[in-house]
């Protein structure tokens, strides 16, 4: 709408032009300047904690406040460069979240296909149930889940945690996947049918390639939200050799958080890096696709 790329000062009122448009234009550039300034203030406020974690990770003498390191060093990264502190928890996170994402997406694609392609009376209620359960606070069912897992001996089992994490992400994954699948036209599939391809074959080699970008959004979103999940592994996993980075960061901070700020910052960066990279890789389509699907359509 507005020529926002201009520097705010460019549209100075010195250019001779009729009075009314000039006033309009200077008001417009004034509002752009004001908007930009407010934006900068908000941005700076959001930036401070992020700057702290980056600076502190390179500062072996880091304190709680944001400060320029007197000497830049990799000492913090070196100190946590061990199997026990860094690689095993991150490996566990990868197994837990990777396994659960694979499970969720497989089940979601298989479930979305009949929902997208066939008619049945319960379709609407089913879809509404799925949308409703995306809003269910998982926090509120963790006690019964814990209690059930104790009874069936799944506590502290990686498989158990993967199954629950996978199931808890499933409603949203089905909702997203079905939405993307509805956008794939059916004509191409029909010719595959006539050539005698089965359901799974058609799904795998015709439908899924056509919704690649949608599947990428759903997969990465599922993975990112699991990567950040703290409560589920905190409740369901106990022994140190199973704990993912989300939980070890908590135990690390409650044990050494009062002294080893720099090391904690370095570990936070290691742990956050995968989701930041995935986000950069997918760009804003992740955030926007997700927010649009969840916020406006839902």
């Amino acid at each position: 709408m507005t020529t926002t790329t201009d520097a705010p000062t460019a549209a100075s009122p010195s250019t001779p032009s009729p009075a009314a448009p000039r006033r309009g234009r200077s008001r417009e550039s004034g509002s752009q300047l004001a908007s930009t300034l407010v934006m900068i203030v908000i941005g700076l406020a959001f930036l401070v904690p992020l700057v702290w974690v980056v600076l502190a990770s390179f500062d072996t003498e880091a304190s709680l406040a944001v400060a320029w390191p007197e000497t830049w060093s990799l000492g913090n990264f070196q100190a946590i460069w061990t199997t026990e502190t860094t690689f095993r928890p991150l490996g566990n996170s990868l197994i837990l979240c990777g396994g659960a994402t694979l499970l969720t997406m497989t089940a979601a694609v298989l479930c979305a296909y009949p929902m997208s392609r066939f008619r049945f009376r319960a379709k609407r209620p089913l879809l509404l149930t799925i949308i409703f359960s995306t809003g269910l606070p998982i926090t509120a069912i963790m006690i019964p889940v814990y209690s059930l897992f104790v009874q069936v001996n799944l506590i502290d089992s990686m498989v158990g945690a993967i199954l629950f994490l996978g199931a808890s992400a499933l409603p949203y994954a089905i909702f997203l996947t079905k939405g993307f699948m509805d956008g794939v036209p059916m004509e191409i599939e029909e010719s595959a049918w006539t050539e005698g391809a089965g359901v799974l074959r058609t799904l795998w080699s015709v439908v899924m390639p056509l919704m690649r970008s949608g599947l990428a959004v759903a997969t990465i979103f599922t993975f990112v939200s699991m990567w950040g999940n703290f409560f589920v592994p905190f409740m369901l996993l106990l022994s140190p050799e199973h704990l993912p980075a989300a939980v070890t960061l908590y135990t690390f901070s409650s044990q050494y958080g009062q002294v080893a700020y720099g090391q904690l910052a370095a570990f936070s960066i290691f742990y956050s890096l995968p989701v930041v990279v995935l986000y950069l890789f997918l760009g804003r389509s992740l955030g926007q696709g997700f927010a649009a699907a969840g916020g406006v359509k839902g």
Binding site: I40, P137, L148, G287
Partner: protein
């Protein structure tokens, strides 16, 4: 949604094959839905139904209820409703939800989305990237970063004292406000993206005709923007409220619910009762009351939706 399927209902003889898309679902065709059904019934519906049983028992990790669990009727609920700590948590949960989600995230989200349309492009890109970065960071990392920010010797006080203002000990004096701000920091991006998507679908000529009619910016916002955004506002309020009601890790890392229960929202109270005191039945009853609050809030927001949007 089902329009594509509906257009296909007319019988087309030349298309009639053994298996044609858009047909009725048969048992064989529903087979791929089985893994999802098993997972959802086993790990979601199962625990929900089980919680309806557990909340009426004295189930415990240790002690009497651990050896043999027995029905206790409504006593978990009555003892919750007569417990001062429970009501303290309810009040803190409401403060946390209203300050951080209903007001904080939503207002900041709308403001950012509107600024995005006016401000300098480069600045907009940088600032939205920062805001989104705060959103995608893992919850525990966000909690730790905001803990250091609000701590006595943290960045906030460094900034406050450097511009001549007195330092604050928010984590001790008003921990619920500190964790609310932390939740705004972490969640504003979501509302920003929702509102930005909604605003971009509002045609520009609506504003032009409003300003020709002499409506100022404030008037335009309340009588043009807000009504047009109503569906987005209602759904966004509902989603952010439900997310915020169940926040656990962020507060657990920052304050642990303390000091002296001053930031112990319902999820933390529930956790403490169930695991520190081992009362699983009582904890489940509290969880059900938390779900009830979420359901009531959702119903209120659904009433905000315009009639034709309810579908």
């Amino acid at each position: 949604m089902s329009t594509a399927a509906d257009t296909r209902t007319a019988p087309e003889p030349q298309r009639r094959r053994r298996t044609s898309l858009g047909n009725r679902l048969t048992a064989a065709r529903a087979l791929p839905m089985l893994p999802a059904a098993v997972l959802l019934i086993g790990f979601m519906a199962g625990p929900i139904i089980y919680s309806l049983y557990l909340a009426f028992t004295d189930s415990a990790i240790r002690g009497e209820g651990a050896a043999d669990t027995s029905f206790v009727g409504l006593s978990n609920f009555t003892s919750a409703l007569t417990d001062g700590d429970f009501w303290n948590s309810v009040a803190l949960t409401l403060v946390f939800t209203v300050v951080s989600a209903v007001i904080g995230q939503n207002v900041l989200g709308v403001v950012l989305a509107m600024l995005m349309e006016r401000a300098n492009r480069v600045i907009t890109f940088l600032v939205t990237s920062i805001v989104i970065a705060a959103w995608i960071l893992p919850e525990v990392v966000a909690g730790y970063l905001l803990y250091t920010f609000f701590a006595g010797e943290g960045s906030l006080n460094l900034i406050l004292t450097s511009i001549g203002l007195p330092g604050q000990e928010l984590l001790f004096s008003a921990p619920i406000i500190a964790v609310s701000f932390a939740n705004i920091w972490r969640g504003a991006a979501f509302s920003m993206l929702v509102y930005s998507a909604a605003l971009s679908s509002v045609p520009a000529d609506v504003y032009e005709s409003a300003s020709i009619d002499g409506a100022g910016p404030v008037r335009r916002f309340f009588s043009v923007t807000v009504p047009l955004l109503r569906p987005a506002i209602a759904t966004n309020l509902m989603l952010t409220t439900l997310q915020t009601l169940s926040v656990f890790g962020l507060i657990f890392i920052m304050t642990g619910g303390g000091p002296a229960r001053q930031s112990q929202t319902l999820p933390l109270y529930m956790y403490e009762q169930a695991f520190s005191y081992g009362q699983l039945g009582y904890g489940t009853a509290v969880a059900l009351l938390l779900l009830l609050i979420g359901a009531v809030a959702s119903l209120i927001y659904l009433r905000l939706l315009p009639e034709d949007d309810k579908r």
